[in-house]
């Protein structure tokens, strides 16, 4: 899940590594305060999305590989040639063109979260979420349509 958040919010590997590290640090710091009032996954999503949205990401103008990704096999290089990975790269590229809130909503939609869970994570009421979600899906459809 953390890898996916990093991919959704950061374009280049350097920023992704930074965000990954930041989310891990924030989860570690917040863990003693987890009281089990919400589901663990909801709590984790909140922290990961809050870190990604409220974090200040540097705009790197060039791709800097700080170190080879040690955590994931399938996400380490978008130039992997398999068809599936190409499609996944297309999807991520399209999502990154959405606004920060839309990225979070689409990610939760792709993860099959219910509107109730989305409300718990995002704090936006379900009626409002439905309206926003329709707009975000429409945008995503347009962005993923082959030209």
């Amino acid at each position: 899940m953390i890898h996916k958040v990093c991919h959704v919010y950061c374009h280049n590997p350097g920023d992704r590594d930074d965000l990954f590290q930041e989310i891990v640090i924030q989860l570690w710091k917040a863990w003693p305060g987890f009281r089990g009032e919400s589901r663990f996954s909801t709590w984790m999503y909140r922290i990961a999305l809050n870190t990604a949205i409220s974090g200040l990401r540097r705009n790197r103008h060039q791709t800097v590989y700080l170190e080879p990704s040690l955590f994931t096999d399938s996400l380490k290089d978008e130039s992997d040639t398999t068809e599936k990975e190409e499609k996944l790269a297309t999807l991520y590229a399209a999502i990154r063109r959405l606004s920060e809130l839309e990225r979070a909503m689409i990610m939760l939609y792709l993860e099959d979260k219910t509107y109730e869970e989305m409300e718990e994570i995002l704090g936006v009421n379900q009626n409002s979420l439905r309206v926003k979600m329709n707009r975000a899906k429409e945008k995503l459809r347009r962005l993923t349509k082959p030209s």
């Binding site: 809050n50 200040l56 955590f71 809130l101 939609y109």
Partner: protein, 211 residues
């Protein structure tokens, strides 16, 4: 391709996660790069700078000139005490901003509110110091001018009546305060302003269709 197909592709992607303790340890040992962590580091650096520079100046004026400039020590001690209050207030705001476990909307509200208060404290604190210092040093020069050889417009003398000296000090204070206000405003915006604007924009988007 329909969205459901994209969903399948998304869900089929399950990055292999290694839970190597050494890697985790290495990650946790690194410095946090979050805005709040950076602000905390800046605030601590500011505190040390004040302790060292003010501490040295307070001691110097306490003992130098046979204690004739001891007022400067008291003044700096008073400013130092204000700084402690300012430091505690900022530190409290940063602690509030550190909690990321609430849902995204309320976290953003908290972040924006705290950041705007933080910026206001920075701006008011940084700007207010100028007229207070000018007022103090003006008074000091007036009362101590017998120790410093007068001869220019900043000191009252036979050639420079008191009203003229006061007018010069007031004018100078206003000019420097206004200039410092804009410098502070530019600097604080450069440091945190754009970040606050970005958070405000996301929050406005979240509130957009609220019913």
């Amino acid at each position: 391709m329909e969205l459901d197909q994209w969903k399948e592709i998304w869900q089929a992607d399950t990055p292999a996660t290694h839970t190597d303790h050494q890697i985790l340890r290495a990650l946790l040992d690194k410095k946090s790069g979050s805005p709040v962590a950076r602000m905390k580091r800046n605030l601590n650096a500011e505190l040390w700078l004040i302790i060292i520079s003010y501490g040295a100046a307070i001691l110097f004026y306490f003992f130098a000139f046979d204690g004739r400039m001891i007022e400067i020590s008291w003044f700096m001690l008073m400013i130092g005490a204000f700084f402690i209050v300012y430091y505690i207030r900022k530190r409290k705001l940063l602690r509030e901003m550190e909690d990321l476990s609430s849902h995204v909307k309320s976290n953003l509200e908290k972040q924006v509110q705290s950041l705007e208060t933080y910026i206001r404290i920075y701006l008011v604190g940084g700007t207010a110091l100028i007229p207070i210092s000018m007022l103090f040093f003006g008074w000091l020069m007036y009362t101590k001018s017998r120790y410093i050889s007068p001869g220019n417009i900043f000191f009252p003398s036979e050639q420079n009546p008191l009203w003229k000296v006061i007018a010069v000090w007031v004018m100078l204070t206003v000019i420097i305060t206004v200039v410092m206000y804009f410098i502070n405003k530019w600097y604080v915006r450069k440091l945190y302003g754009r970040h606050a604007e970005k958070l405000r924009a996301v929050l406005d988007e979240m509130k957009g269709d609220d019913q």
